[in-house]
């Protein structure tokens, strides 16, 4: 463990004007790129890495961390204002954020997203700084069997999101899982369901599917609904009170448990390699909905829905660095990009990092906290600009959003094929919504499908087909028990109780 002088030297090293400026540039770039559908922090970091060659290690890595943090928050802005998530991580933010904006409270919704994002992010940074080593050891105990149990648990939580028909929800989940099966199968490596399109060997692109189903389907529906009177995209009442434009301390404090739960979910999932922030956001949203006294208000503009998703997806950022810094294992694509940045500067992440580069690591921690502060301050400015933009007529905003989605998905998938996929899934999402099949459940099942199949395949090999071998995996048993209880609670007990009450 590094001693106090190393920590102080690292902090002093971080708090320079140069580092501050790089953090500011990083956060600004991240918020800008994150707000563009289909792009996001991964692409921004990949583009930015070559520009950091000439920099010292700390400003270079602080800049990339700023891009990542800014990008995750940036994705929530269009999700809330025009129901077009800039990144898949922000898809769940749109569920309550956009209805709240349509109620004429876009500033309240986006500010809550900003505050909860910074809160979740800061929570996970503090966990990273204080208990990263023991947490990394615990995360490493999550082998394929435990990951499989975690996936089953995540699927069981879907039961809370199926809406007014359990059968339709299950059909949507089966469809999502089926869509995830496109591409190479994980055990044998044989291609399947690709219909002669080699672009589908890696599966359906997540960005194209998520943006198509959640954003483009809504854009097309809103364009089709425009009548003779062309209104602003978000109608803000002229007599709107000051309380509707801001998040009061009482509102923020009322979301404390939701944000804490989201931050814990994000931190735990972030520390486990390969799970990611999209899963954290959806799981946090589902758990917040089920724990709420008024679950029916979720999806209709409940501010707690925004707080739950943003605190969770942002908490993944800091936690992703736990296995990276302590063990040298990247937990996500962004963490893998950070490893490459470390290596460019001749630094080897891993168990010896704190001993050999203590000053740099504690400097990085200080820079991360600085990036959170900058995210909060710069976010306030960018929210004002965005809130002004959505007062433009819906003809302009939705047409531009559609062009933006086309460009974003074209860039992220590397060609027009991804855009065609996006349009196919936009129509699918539109028809599913019309007939009451949950698009959210589809997306969650689609997102978890690959990881589920891979971990199931590995689990079957490890257990050698004998369920009794599960007894030697106590953590997996706990998770599977939680899954059964959660499916029973969310799928049967809670709905029956609600019906009795009604």
């Amino acid at each position: 463990m590094s001693e106090l002088p190393t920590i102080l030297a690292g902090v002093e090293h971080a708090f320079t004007l140069t580092n501050l400026l790089f953090v500011v540039f990083g956060v600004m770039a991240g918020q800008f790129v994150g707000a563009m559908p289909g792009t996001g922090p991964v692409m921004a970091m990949a583009i930015a890495i070559p520009f950091t060659f000439a920099l010292d290690p700390l400003p270079a890595i602080a800049f990339l961390v700023g891009v990542n943090k800014g990008g995750l928050f940036g994705g929530s802005i269009p999700a809330i204002l025009i129901n077009t998530p800039g990144t898949p991580d922000a898809a769940a933010t749109a569920f309550d954020g956009h209805p709240l904006a349509r109620k004429g409270k876009p500033e309240k919704a986006t500010k809550m997203a900003l505050f909860s994002s910074v809160t979740g992010d800061t929570f996970s940074d503090i966990v990273l700084i204080t208990v990263s080593a023991p947490l990394a050891a615990l995360a490493l105990k999550m082998g394929p069997v435990e990951i499989f149990a975690l996936m089953v648990f995540a699927f069981s939580i879907i039961a809370g999101l199926v809406g007014d028909s359990m059968v339709k929800g299950l059909i949507a989940a089966a469809l999502g899982l089926l869509a995830a099966m496109v591409g190479l199968d994980p055990e044998h490596g044989t291609p399947r369901l690709y219909f002669g399109h080699f672009e589908l060997f890696d599966g359906l692109p997540l960005a194209a599917v998520a943006i198509g189903m959640l954003a483009v389907s809504e854009i097309l529906r809103r364009l089709a609904a425009i009548g003779s009177d062309i209104l602003p995209t978000i109608v803000i009442p002229k007599s709107q009170s000051k309380d509707d434009r801001r998040v009061s301390w009482a509102e923020y404090w009322s979301c404390r448990y939701v944000m804490l739960r989201g931050a814990i979910i994000g931190t735990i999932l972030g520390a486990i390699p390969g799970v990611g922030s999209t899963a954290a956001a959806f799981i946090s949203y589902a758990s917040a909905k089920q724990a709420a006294k008024d679950p029916d208000s979720f999806g209709k503009g409940n501010i707690q829905g925004v707080a739950a998703t943003e605190s969770a997806n942002s908490a993944v950022v800091g936690a992703n660095l736990i296995p990276l810094l302590t063990l040298g294992i990247p937990g996500s694509v962004t963490a893998a990009l950070l490893i490459s940045a470390f290596k460019i500067h001749g630094i080897q992440p891993g168990p010896l990092l704190f001993e050999q580069e203590g000053r740099l690591i504690y400097g990085l921690f200080a820079a991360m906290l600085m990036a959170n502060l900058m995210n909060l301050l710069l976010g306030q400015v960018s929210l004002r600009l965005w809130s002004f933009a959505v007062k433009a007529p819906e003809t302009l905003v939705f047409t531009s959003a559609l062009v933006l989605c086309i460009a974003g998905v074209y860039v992220s998938t590397g060609g027009a094929f991804g855009v065609v996929i996006m349009l196919i899934f936009a129509l699918t999402g539109y028809f599913m919504s019309l007939f009451g099949y949950s698009v959210v459940v589809f997306i969650i099942a689609f997102f978890l499908g690959n990881k589920f199949e891979l971990s199931l395949s590995q689990t079957l090999v490890i257990l050698d087909g004998h369920p009794t071998n599960l007894l030697s995996h106590p953590l997996a048993l706990v998770l599977l028990t939680c899954a059964v209880l959660s499916a029973w609670w969310l799928g049967f007990y809670a709905p029956r109780k609600a019906r009795k009450k009604a």
Binding site: P191, F195, L223, S228, A392, T399, Y437
Partner: protein
Amino acid sequence: MKTSPPLQSQGSGSFTGKHIVSLNRLSGLFFVLAGLLLYFVIIPAETETVDYGWLRPQTIPNACAMAMTTLGALHALIPTGSISVKLREILKVTFFTAFTLLSLWLMETFGFLLIAPLFAGALMLLVGERRIGWLAGGAIVFPVAIWLAVVPLLERSLP
């Protein structure tokens, strides 16, 4: 099981309460047929037959197809949940999707910078925008701004 709530009339092309149950049943039947088609035709044709290993390539796709068939049949028999179908909106959304696909093909042929402004302008005109200032913003400023942000700034390629 909860029965379908009646839907209020929503103008021309809307379905009313008495049609909802039938539409719900139809959607259930659709998934029965889709599941059967997947199980007997598409999955066998599009998945390699492997006869070893714990989890074969077709295991989960087949399970999904069977789930769709069973649940679809259940839904056709006992329909639940709400539906909000508007024919005019469906036609418009389908048209806009086809128009976007056509524009994508044109972008691939003639370039984003030439076609995106035409696409955005035509779409704005189609949905009823007639104000020159907003048309110019949507058809010229935004597509060009997107191109500038993506191509010179991010150094990525567009069609």
